[in-house]
Every structure is written in C-alpha cells, then in structure tokens.
C-alpha cells in the first residue's frame, strides 16, 4: 500500500513567483559581475557591457529554480512515502566493506587495464596522493575532531625533507621516507605543543597561520629551499636500486627483467608505490583506531572533559594525533617530491590544505572509504571538466557547496564501532 502524505503543494503561481524572486536576485548579482566588466584598452580601463550574457544568466536562473524546486518537492514527497528503505540502507556495514574491497580490486587492476594510457595512470596516482593525505588528515579532523587548516605544511615538510636529503646528501627514497616522516611528525609536535590548548576555531586559525608561515619561509629562505624557484632534479625512486631509464652501463629495471624500456614503467611503478603507501596508511590508521590511543582520539572528539575525568591526558592524546597525522602527510610529501622531480612553495598553498580538508569532510569525517570517494569526486570532477578548463575551479567550489548541502554529514557518515560485544561473545563464548 502506498502512503500518500498530504502536504501543501505550491500552485503554479507560487512557483513562478518564487522563481521570479530568484531571477531578481540573480539580476542584482549579475549586473556588476556579468553585465559590466572592464577591459584594458591601450593602458587604460574601459567599461564593456555584456547584457545578452546577463539576460541568458537570469533566464537560466529562473528556469533552473523552477525545475529544481519542482524536482526537490517531488523527491521530498517520494522520500517521505518510503522512509523504511532509507533506514535499511543505512544499517549495512557489510556494504561499505564490499565497496572498499572492490575499490582495491579496481585500483590493483587499473594499470593493467590501462597499461598504455599514461593519462589515466597519472590521474589515478594523483587521486591516490589525495587519498593518502585524506587518510592522514582524517586522524586529526575525523577521529580527534581537531580542525587543521594547515595540513599542506606537513606535506611541504615531507617533500622538502626528501628533496634536500636526496639532492644534498644523496639519500635514496626508502632511506629518506622514514626520516622525512619523522621530521614531519616532529614538526607536528612543534606546532601542536603551544596550540592544542586552544579551542576549535582558534586552533583552526593558528594551524592556518602555521601553514602560511611555512610557505612564506620556504619562499624566502633561499639558502635552504631555493626560494620560489623550488628544488629541481630530485632523484626518482628506483625499483630496489634499479633505475627506470634506457639501457646503459648499469643495470636498469628494463635490462634486469629483460624487457624493452618504456617510460610507462616508471609511471606504473609510481602508481603501485603510492597505492602501497596509501594502503599501508589505511592499515596503520585502521589498526590505531582499534587501539587505546585511537579510541582516546575519538573520545576526545566526543567529550574532552569526560576524558579528563577518566584519567586521559588530553594534551598527550591530541599531540599523538597531530604527530601521526603530520607523519603521514610528510610521507605523502616524500612521494610527491619523488614523483614530480621538482617542488616549489607553489604546490603547498592554502588551497591544498583546503582541498584535503574538503576531502575528509565531504567523505564523512572519520570514514576511510568516504575519503576515497571524496578524492575521486574532487580530483576527477575538475579533470572531467578539462574541456572547459576555465570553469574547473568554479565547478570545484560549487561541488563543495552542493555536496555539503546534499549530505552535511559527508558522503558516508556512518561510524563503525571498533569492537562489538555480540561478535566477541559469539567468537569465544564471551570473555
């Protein structure tokens, strides 16, 4: 039986009025930005008008509002008539596991399927860097509930640490990775120690400040970082000592395995490398979540005062979250530097921090799979919009707003408990 919920259905007149109001606002917004513009003519500015474009914009807003309103009303009506289906969907933890495993399967098979398509593998590598960054930031934002708007600083520290260690001291990727990670973690402690007493939004602005300070220092401390020019010719990672280059005197990856050299080898190797690093991160964070320290992170997010009353040293727990998150960001930075072969402060702006934070929040704070989905959306969406390259970031911003409105809790908002009594008592007959 279908239940029809009675509700006030707006008449056509009301709908038209509503849309007209939106069109009016659109007109007001559009006049100074779309209708008028200034163009440089011979060194002086002149005003140019684009009234037809404005007219199209306003009309589109009118029609768009009319259709959107109508669609939303229909959707709401339908959602109200079958609330059971929604709640049933929510209760499936098995579904997320299934999606997670199939994502991993696709990720493993991807370079094989697209073995001749450099673009796809490259983009997938970018997605995975963001996944790793997202998982790293998730420790602080998703689990410990601390806002960090300067995550790019840790990313930068890792990248510069590797760049300097490799170009100045000739360290290899695998030697530098743990050292750079530890260095970033130390940086995280340095940042966290004075600031973690601050409440949420103060912490946010201070982390933002630290991010900017790091960038400004990287730009200006030329002796260390080579300033805005960045560091170039950073050695690429080798396959256990076998470099990816055309055959020469020394054994290379291609000559060792007796295959023909192809520049794609390195691309694919890099892809698997970041996949392995990301999976390691995932394993590490999931494991931590089920340990006392991880539970304490979540408990602090839920209620700091209760934590204190239970004997948890809140400062230490927060610091550990900061350090571990920084370490993971630093490791991602090492990979970034090794992949690009060139880094400059330009790669570590606030936008980078904002994108990673958006990935965490859009994915659903605390959800590992959510981070993957959000990275896919946020990296692929601008890529899909390459045909209108100018509109990429515009779409990006709009997508952030729309996804947030569509799902304020993130794409996957459901929290998985770290242990279940029912499962425990079933396994071993109860402790």
């Amino acid at each position: 039986m279908r239940v029809v919920v009675a509700q006030h259905a707006p008449s056509l007149r009301e709908r038209l009025k509503d849309a007209a109001a939106v069109a009016c606002v659109a007109l007001l917004l559009g006049v100074p930005m779309i209708g008028l513009t200034t163009v440089d003519q011979g060194g002086a500015l002149h005003v140019a008008t684009r009234w037809p474009v404005l007219a199209i914009f306003v009309t589109l807003c009118f029609i768009g509002r009319l259709l959107a309103r109508f669609g939303l009303d229909r959707l709401q009506l339908r959602r109200r008539s079958r609330p059971a289906a929604v709640s049933a969907l929510r209760g499936t933890g098995a579904l997320t596991a299934w999606v997670g495993w199939s994502c991993l399967g696709v990720a493993l098979a991807l370079p094989v399927i697209f073995s001749d398509n450099r673009y796809v593998v490259d983009t997938a590598t970018t997605v995975l860097i963001y996944v790793m960054l997202g998982w790293g930031l998730n420790v602080v934002v998703g689990l410990a509930g601390l806002l960090n708007l300067g995550y790019a600083a840790f990313y930068a520290v890792g990248a510069y640490a590797y760049a300097l260690l490799s170009t100045q001291f000739g360290w290899g990727f695998w030697q530098a990775l743990p050292v750079a990670g530890a260095f970033a973690a130390g940086f995280g402690l340095l940042l966290g120690w004075p600031t973690l007493r601050l409440r949420g939004d103060y912490l946010a602005i201070v982390t933002l400040g630290f991010g900017e300070i790091t960038r400004v220092i990287l730009i200006n401390w030329t002796d260390l970082s080579n300033g805005p020019n960045g560091i170039a010719s950073i050695p690429r990672p080798t396959f256990f000592g076998l470099p990816f280059k055309p055959d020469g005197d020394t054994p290379t990856f291609a000559s060792f395995f007796g295959i023909e050299f192809s520049p794609l080898h390195r691309i694919i190797f890099l892809y698997y490398l970041i996949l392995a690093l990301a999976m390691l991160t995932n394993l590490f964070v999931s494991r931590l979540r089920k340990l006392p320290v991880g539970r304490a992170w979540e408990a602090i997010r839920e209620d700091e005062i209760a934590c204190q009353a239970l004997g948890i040293n809140v400062t230490n727990v927060k610091l550990s979250a900061f350090a571990i998150s920084a370490m993971l960001g630093g490791c991602a930075g090492v990979f970034f530097a090794a992949r690009q072969g060139f880094i400059s402060p330009e790669s570590f702006t606030f936008n980078e921090s904002a994108i990673v934070l958006a990935i965490v929040v859009l994915g659903g704070t605390g959800s590992q799979l959510g981070v993957v989905l959000a990275s896919l959306v946020l990296v692929l969406l601008p890529e899909l919009g390459r045909d209108f390259a100018d509109y990429r970031m515009l779409l990006f911003g709009a997508a952030m707003i729309l996804i947030m409105i569509w799902r304020p809790g993130g794409i996957l908002a459901k929290r998985e408990p770290t242990l279940r009594y029912r499962a425990l008592s079933r396994d071993g007959g109860g402790p």
């Binding site: 200034t38 601050l198 949420g200 939004d201 630290f210």
Partner: protein
C-alpha cells in the same frame, strides 16, 4: 623617528581597512559560530565593483571626486550586500544545525567559487585604475624624510571612524541590534520570543558585507589596483585580527585590526619585509598562547 611616524599613519590606515572587514567575521562568528571564509572574497567583489564604477563614472564625464566617491560607495554597498545575503542563503542556511565542519567546508567552497567567478567574468589580470584621489599633506620633514599623509588615508580613517560610530549605534540602540545580540546569546530562546532568527542572520551577513564593501572601495582608492586574489590575503589578515582581539567582540575586532595594521607597517619598515605575514601570525600565536580567548574576548570558564 619620521619613518616611525610615517609607518604609524600607514599602519593605522591598513588597520582601519582590516577592521572594517574583521567586523564582518566577528559578527558572523558571534551569531552562528562559523568562520565565514568567503567574507574576504565579498570584499574582493566590492573592490571590482568599485573599479567598474570609477571607470564608468570617468567615462560618463563625472569629474567631481566627492560625487564619484559617494556614488561608487553607495552602489558598491548595495550590490555587495546582495552578495552577502546570497552567500548566506545558498551556502550556509541549508547547513544550519548540522555539524560544525559542514558550513566551514561550504564556506571554503564558496570562497573558491567567488574567486573563480570573478576571475572568469572580470579577467585574471591585475586591474589598475586611474588615480581617484591624488595628493595629501606633507606633515613634517626630518633629515630629508617627509612624513606624508595622503588624502586617501584621511578618507579611510575618517570613513572608518564614522562607520564604527554608526555601527556601534546600530548594535547598541536599534531593534535590529538588540535582536542581533539576542541571537548571539541564545538563538533558540530568541526564536521562541517571536524574533525571526533567519532574517536577523541574513541582516548580519548583509551588514558585514556592507562594511567589507566600504573597505573594498577605500582600498581601490588607496592602492589603485585590484585582482581576484586580494580577498584571500586580506580576509585571512582580517580574520586573524578578529581572533587577535577576541572573536565575537566588536571592539576587539577593531583593536586587533589596528594592532595588526601597525605590526605589519612597522615590521615592513624595520625588519625583513618579506616576512611580514609571518610576523602577523607569529604574534597571533603568541597572544593566543597567553590569552587563549584573544585580547578583549571574555575568558571562557570551563563549564563542567
């Protein structure tokens, strides 16, 4: 000595501009507890409107500077307040009552959106306008250094002071001000008393946008160049100022902004200028370490 005086003037000017923007941050934070990341971009939009406005008036042959200033100010304030309203209505209102992070992300999205919209519609290049207000007073000369007070600086400081007075009146004496303060204290209770909270919040955004609009026009007059990226840097500085002074406190925002302006001006004069942004943040961090709720913010007693 003369340099110090000059930097004092420059710092106060800069501080006044930061202050006008910081008030928007602090009011929005006070009423809905979110960092309105798009506020700096509202200011940027206003600066672009000002560029178009001055150019248009020049083309129409309006030569009277006061008239041009007045017209541009009014037009810019009107259009920008619509932007303020629309930003709140589309990006924040649907998220009211959800988690703390959701509106923040939506605000960052809105900031990216506005920046790129302006870049697309107005062009990515820096826009220099013909100087609007030229000249100034030469105050005194010591050792070949003349302390100069530009008319535009006088304008900025005077307008800011006048607006602050008007604004204090609005918040303390008018019924909107009362509603606004009531919403800051307890939104639920205010709604129960029959006050339209949504409308009050909308007004707050519009008021913040208006002040930012004035700042945008004044900065356009002062510097004469505008680009789509100015919103971010100035926005961050203004927000820092608001936190510095104690977020949620209006006098605090003004004080923090002036201090921020002075720190920046003096740092540029006496210390490596490329690190001036580091200075702002470093001092902010130091202040927060010792006074976690800012200079004039009420220290929060931990309610157990």
């Amino acid at each position: 000595m003369a340099l110090a005086l000059q930097q004092l003037i420059n710092g106060l000017t800069l501080g006044a501009v930061y202050g006008l923007i910081a008030i928007g941050y602090t009011m929005v934070y006070g009423i809905i507890g979110m960092i309105n990341f798009a506020h700096g971009d509202i200011y940027m939009v206003s600066a672009f409107i000002a560029v178009t406005g001055f150019t248009l008036l020049a083309a129409l042959g309006v030569s009277s500077v006061p008239l041009a200033l007045l017209v541009v100010l009014v037009v810019s304030v009107l259009f920008t307040s619509v932007y303020g309203w629309a930003v709140e209505r589309t990006a924040y209102r649907p998220l009211r009552g959800s988690t703390r992070l959701a509106p923040l992300i939506s605000a960052i999205g809105m900031s990216i959106f506005l920046q790129n919209m302006v870049q697309l519609t107005q062009g990515a290049r820096v826009k220099p306008i013909a100087p609007v207000l030229i000249g100034g007073f030469d105050l005194l000369t010591i050792d070949d250094f003349t302390v100069h007070l530009a008319y535009s600086q006088v304008l900025i400081i005077l307008v800011t002071v006048a607006l602050m007075l008007a604004f204090t009146f609005v918040i303390n004496r008018t019924s909107f001000g009362r509603q606004q303060r009531a919403c800051e204290q307890d939104r639920t209770m205010t709604a129960l008393l029959g006050i339209d909270v949504d409308r009050t919040i909308s007004f707050t955004f519009m008021l913040g946008a208006m002040l930012a609009a004035v700042a945008g026009v004044l900065v356009t007059v002062y510097y004469g160049v505008v680009d789509f990226y100015i919103g971010f840097v100035v926005g961050i500085k203004a927000f820092t100022a608001a936190v510095f002074g104690g977020i949620g406190s209006l006098p605090g925002a003004m004080l923090g902004a002036i201090l921020n302006g002075l720190i920046e001006a003096f740092w540029v004069a006496y210390l490596p200028p490329e690190y001036k942004d580091v200075a702002t943040f470093a001092i902010l961090i130091l202040v927060l370490m010792f006074r976690p709720s800012g200079l004039l913010g009420r220290p929060e007693v931990e309610k157990v």
